[in-house]
Symmetry: C2
Subunit: 383 residues, 2 copies
């Protein structure tokens, strides 16, 4: 019998209680979470000095499962397996890579599908609004528990990139470097607009039931529509030409299908919509898109420009040439503002046709620059 | 008493029967419309030789009311009043400008809200799929009835630009020039994708009732969501920064509004969604977006490239720098393909930040080039 190839990276979900009734998490909104669990995973070994950790922040529908497998025979590895593992850019032979599911999420961390301690029932829309800054503050408590005072780097794409920048401004002494890919220090109005349309598709689904749909299939049509729109913004016209063109799905005359799926690109969107419905909570989709809208590095810090002056970490901002959702002018702006405030920032452009999702699907394009950037960060043993 | 300013251009809706049971319109799909009415308007005077007409083709939610007013005290003129009128680029002192509501529409022409002659009830989804080529063939019948064998030009933006190109390939001897603004000879997959998401918002609204919602409010939430998404694609990130930025609507803390309208850009989208619901039929929205998807100048003509060889008119293709929906590479491609086939084509770029809608809101930028292009077209008295 042939041997089953075994992944060299096995992982499991871990859980940390980062807020309790006696030590609650006070959110930016002023509301309080009396109990917060973060689900996280660890890849590689933490050094005795606890000075080799890299924190990965995930994107909208991501989770703690960045890389590797839970079981050797899992069909698919984690969502950024190209980036994280032995010998890879985030080299787990060298670094200890940590990733936690964000608060507001639905993959093990406290979110709207969690039980509200006041009622014992899922929060639904009683869950408080959270922001990337809130997410980061919860993650900082996790690192406190792990005894990690200072990170080598915080890295993320999209909403993860926003968290990485928020980390740099909120805890300037807790990391050497920040890598922000396809993100921004604040969300631009076009992206707020795309988010709002996606939320409306969920909120107007009659199966949404005001957010208390747990125990029912829930707003599956609305969530699928939201995901279909999201996917357009994660791709590019160029990549859709390459992958689908104007190809018609299956046999038969395109003129005689009415409003059934006709083009391959439609079929792709429907498939992606269905896939998300199977794994994601609609309320989390609402909360996490709203968190993106509310991302503003400048809030409470004088101005957007001034907030960049808080950053002490070396910043690598990666723009993607074909990014529709976070056009590369945003990453260039981050670099300009950090430099204007006297900090260190480098810009790197991914010459990929794959749009926003390039940070996932075309990671090899930036693997070496990221490895070099990490190499350039001196290890220190604390702030 | 102050005199009420009176528009110099008064207009009224006219109706033509362009298909009858004895002379039906056979559509590209093979299906047949036994009765077709086109609603149209005429601006300026047709010359005795009937050789001074310009046909304007409207965009997705447009209608025959291009310019002027129905009554002197109408608060607003037609949708392209900047372009059409005495002394304007489409000078009604010189040209006779004609515009008809497309088949499939809901502003007086036969569409899904019209009575099906077989049942006496509105067609709903029994209406056949129509294409820009079908729209053009119906318009050609209107011109036949008006005794206009040859046009000075056909002009349109967006879906109107598609019709203009389809005119040039279907009836090469019937016009001197074609002006295609923010359009293409075929729809690209990203735009098909945006259309499909919009349709799904309508089709999944429980009030859609399989398209037979007449006599009820209909799928107003779904149609509003569709329009909200459409509006994003008609604008640009740049124009949204200029108009809305990250401004929060009204007083109060943005962090405490949950999923209510928070940002001005959201408020704008909701307003646009509601406005459309009041004036547009959801089924027409389905049919006309599908017509855009099905636009393919090459269908039945050997190839996309070969179809451009049919065009005898002089072509002016106008691209808009900031157009998200029809990026300017599409108009440049039209020029390249017409020239490659031996025809005459010119490219003009609108340096406007207003996105796809620039052809409406920033028309003065191209008024003079369009006037000059029209001047360059020699009048002839027939093919």
């Amino acid at each position: 019998m042939a041997a089953i190839p075994v992944s060299t990276l096995l992982t499991c979900r871990l859980y940390a209680q980062v807020a309790t009734p006696s030590d609650p998490l006070v959110l930016e909104s002023g509301r309080v979470l009396k109990s917060v669990t973060l689900c996280y995973e660890v890849f590689g070994r933490l050094s005795p000095e606890r000075d080799n950790a890299i924190l990965v922040c995930h994107a909208l529908t991501g989770d703690s499962h960045v890389a590797g497998r839970y079981r050797a025979d899992d069909p698919k590895p984690g969502w950024w397996d190209d980036a994280v593992g032995p010998g890879k850019a985030l080299d787990t032979d060298r670094y200890c890579v940590i990733c936690s599911n964000v608060i507001g999420g639905c993959q093990g961390s406290t979110g709207p599908s969690s039980a509200n301690p006041d009622t014992g029932r899922p929060y639904g829309l009683d869950f408080p609004i959270v922001t990337p800054r809130d997410m980061v503050r919860a993650q900082a408590r996790l690192l406190d528990q792990l005894g990690i005072r200072r990170l080598v780097a915080v890295i993320g794409g999209s909403l993860g990139a926003m968290q990485a920048l928020e980390w740099a401004a909120t805890y300037p002494n807790r990391m050497q470097g920040v890598i922000s890919i396809g993100g921004a220090g604040r969300l631009h109005p076009q992206a707020i607009a795309f988010n709002e349309v996606q939320r409306q598709a969920i909120l107007n689904d009659p199966d949404f039931r005001g957010g208390q749909y747990y125990g029912t299939p829930g707003p599956v049509r609305g969530l699928a529509i939201a995901r279909m729109l999201g996917m357009i913004t994660y791709r590019s016209d160029e990549s859709m030409w390459a992958q689908f063109g104007r190809d018609v799905r299956g046999p038969g005359n395109a003129l005689q299908r009415g409003f059934d799926v006709t083009f391959q690109v439609e079929s792709y969107l429907h498939y992606q919509g269905q896939k998300l419905v199977e794994r994601f909570d609609a309320n989390s989709y609402l909360y996490l898109t709203r968190a993106m809208d509310l991302m503003d590095l400048g809030r409470g810090r004088g101005s957007y420009e001034a907030a960049h002056g808080l950053i002490k970490a070396r910043v690598l901002a990666v723009g993607i040439r074909s990014d529709l959702l976070f056009p590369s002018y945003l990453q260039q702006e981050t670099v300009r503002l950090v430099r204007a405030a006297g900090g260190h920032a480098e810009y790197l452009e991914m010459d990929s046709p794959w749009g926003h999702d390039a940070f996932l699907v075309d990671f090899p394009l930036i693997a070496e620059p990221i490895r070099r950037f990490l190499d350039s960060l001196e290890r220190t043993d604390g702030a």
